[in-house]
Symmetry: C2
Subunit: 218 residues, 2 copies
């Protein structure tokens, strides 16, 4: 299968490596065609790894993943082009983190909106699913790095798109039973608003490699 | 020990029952002295259960707990009176939930502020600790209702106040090792911003009786 990844940062390259490892073809897309990180990634990825513009990555992918920061995601996807996203599963991995000069974290958007919702509104013909934004990149593609059972979440308006996302997550190592459906794309709000908590936990634990699981009434 | 509880709702009465069961004396405080829920609670609670105004509850307590909704907490605590909170451990259990007429949940304050922080700013002589807002009332006072190990959180500026809160949580059944310190009172922001996620999970699980635990790198 062909995947287009919007973004060239750590999350983008981690997902791209995993998809290539799974036998897929991947184009990593950046604002400029000669992005150093994307060129270097494609060189070491072998024949199934490519690089190009946002538009080329979106055109290439039967499935498109947004791995840009939430604060620039809409701009990047506009550059990719609505016509290249139309009808496609568009998986949004982003968090709208804004750090002040003092290092204080806030989210934008937040509370009454989310990046996931904004993307779905701006590209109504795309099938947007929010997932994977609640764990650090190495855990996204290898949940077995953590001991025991733990959970992933999906939110999106299209049931078929969520099923396909759960299937993809399965190939990353997330058992179907570990993926919790948080409902329509407004669930992205809840998932993005986990970030301040996640960052506090990271400081408390001294590692980014952790994840949530749940205990229920006996 | 004497506890003053600000509020007479389900959370307030659940905490009050537990404190009386543990042998403490409790005054449940409401806006009006003759609040029906508070009178009824005190009648069935026995000799260690009392009711009164916000001010009487705050005056009574060596420790004060805010169990009013986050949207009215500051008003209630102003009615209690800064001089009656000064120097005391003030445990804030609230969430600033706002439901629109359509049932949509938002938080106020959010992102750049929290109820916990507002209380600490308004009452700088109180030792504010945020805790217990991340679980449903029955689980607050009986974590053994859920199978296995799961976690509680505290945030606050005063280390001694957090230690005393962890000790109180211990008498509720939370092992000290299960309580994660999220840092200063700005951690309240992270804890309150869990609510949209919590409510989505409640819908997905079909019960409010669940809680978080964490899996770490092997």
């Amino acid at each position: 299968m062909r995947y287009g990844i919007i973004g060239t940062g750590g999350v983008a390259r981690t997902i791209a490596d995993k998809l290539v490892e799974l036998g897929h073809e991947v184009t990593l897309g950046s604002r400029s065609k000669d992005n150093e990180a994307a060129v270097a990634w494609a060189e070491q990825a072998g024949p199934n790894g490519h690089h190009g513009t946002f538009a080329e990555a979106a055109e290439f992918g039967a499935v498109v993943l947004n791995a840009t920061p939430g604060t620039v995601a809409l701009d990047a996807l506009r550059a990719a082009g609505a016509e290249r996203l139309s009808g496609k599963l568009l998986i949004d991995l982003s968090n709208p983190l804004v750090f002040s000069p003092e290092g204080e974290l806030t989210l934008d958007p937040v509370n009454t909106d989310s990046v996931g919702e904004r993307i779905q509104r701006e590209f109504p013909q795309a099938l947007v699913v929010k997932t994977l934004n609640t764990v650090t990149a190495p855990v996204m593609v290898d949940p077995s790095r953590l001991a025991g059972e733990h959970n992933m979440f999906v939110a999106g308006d299209d049931e078929g798109a969520k099923e396909r996302t759960v299937a993809l997550l399965g190939t990353f190592g997330w058992p179907a039973g570990s993926v919790i459906d948080l409902g329509d794309i407004t669930g992205a709000r809840a998932m993005e608003m986990m970030m301040p908590f996640w960052i506090r936990l990271m400081r408390a634990f001294g590692t980014a490699e952790f994840n949530y699981s749940f205990k229920h009434a006996k």
